[in-house]
Symmetry: C2
């Protein structure tokens, strides 16, 4: 029988995610990844395949974490507008450091080679998932009569995923809470029709 791994694959993956998040795929050198993960090169290749495999696993990890968080926010049964407000104002109030990191998946989308079909599919799927979370919450609210009967829940869900991405892009450049909150207020007003 063999000896056990000396590191926790999930914990090391979290570290790798952190590096990719800070630096992007290209600028995250294997050397730095290994140092931050605290494992040997061979262990990385044994456990995650190659750099690309590690990257994809890190993206999946991030996605799961983020979307579970979203589901938690909307599950509480609070008014949807309140939850969106919490989301957008929460984003606005993040630290400069967090603003600069932005969203790992948004960065992945914009730095990716457009011919990378696997990654594109993964990101498309994620976008659909997020839209689905938003849409279900909006539908619940509409059924409960809290939202206008003819509100277009699909359009609104898409609109908010787009708005969040736009805000993340802006925040990465200009970590200015006031400006972000201005945008948030305008966006939230679309729910009062």
């Amino acid at each position: 029988m063999a000896r056990r791994k000396e590191f926790d694959p999930d914990q090391a993956l979290a570290k790798a995610m952190d590096v990719f998040w800070r630096l992007g795929y290209e600028n995250a050198s294997l050397e730095l990844l290994l140092r931050e993960m605290g494992i040997a090169k061979q262990s990385l290749y044994d456990t995650y395949g190659d750099k690309r495999g590690l990257y994809m696993k890190a993206l999946a990890y991030y996605r799961r974490q983020t979307n579970d968080g979203l589901r938690g926010l909307f599950a509480a049964g609070r008014p949807v507008k309140e939850v969106f407000a919490k989301l957008l104002f929460g984003l606005s109030a993040e630290s400069k450091h967090q603003h600069e990191r932005g969203c790992l998946l948004l960065s992945a989308n914009l730095e990716r080679d457009t011919s990378d079909a696997t990654l594109a599919e993964f990101l498309r799927d994620n976008q659909a998932e997020v839209e689905g979370i938003f849409r279900e919450a909006l539908l619940r609210e509409r059924r409960a009569g809290e939202l206008s009967r003819n509100a277009d829940t699909k359009a609104l869900a898409r609109f908010f995923t787009v708005t969040i991405q736009g805000m993340r892009a802006m925040a990465r450049l200009r970590s200015d809470r006031k400006s972000l909150e201005q945008v948030a207020r305008v966006a939230l007003a679309t729910l009062d029709q």
Copy 2:
């Protein structure tokens, strides 16, 4: 005296911009740049400094072109909402190829190293410029009484720069005209208050 350049620096720059636009900074190899620009390596270094210099000049070129276009759109004196509609629906109707290319400056923002102060400053400046164009148009409209007296022009201007960036991010992934138009409609509704 010396001989003249055998190529048009501006035309070659446009070609370089095209390459960066398609592939991003990292993936645009010097070899490909030279091939597409149709010049020799030494000429590139003589004319543009180095790869980074060429990149920055290409970004500036793109910015000038894009923002001149924006100014032209808003200058015509048509109702601002109509112009924003033209902008957002125009974006929605672009080809898949155009959607995949997205916005060079948005990509630059998201693939950049966060410690790159020069590039950050350039992009911040551009964002302010775009917001300024939007804001002036909104102010004109408000003075003319076409827009609610207490409309927050600064907030609206920011909101639309954010929306466009979000839509560009989404379009890069999912070139789906209908979805984009849904988002555009929700966003445009913020102007009817």
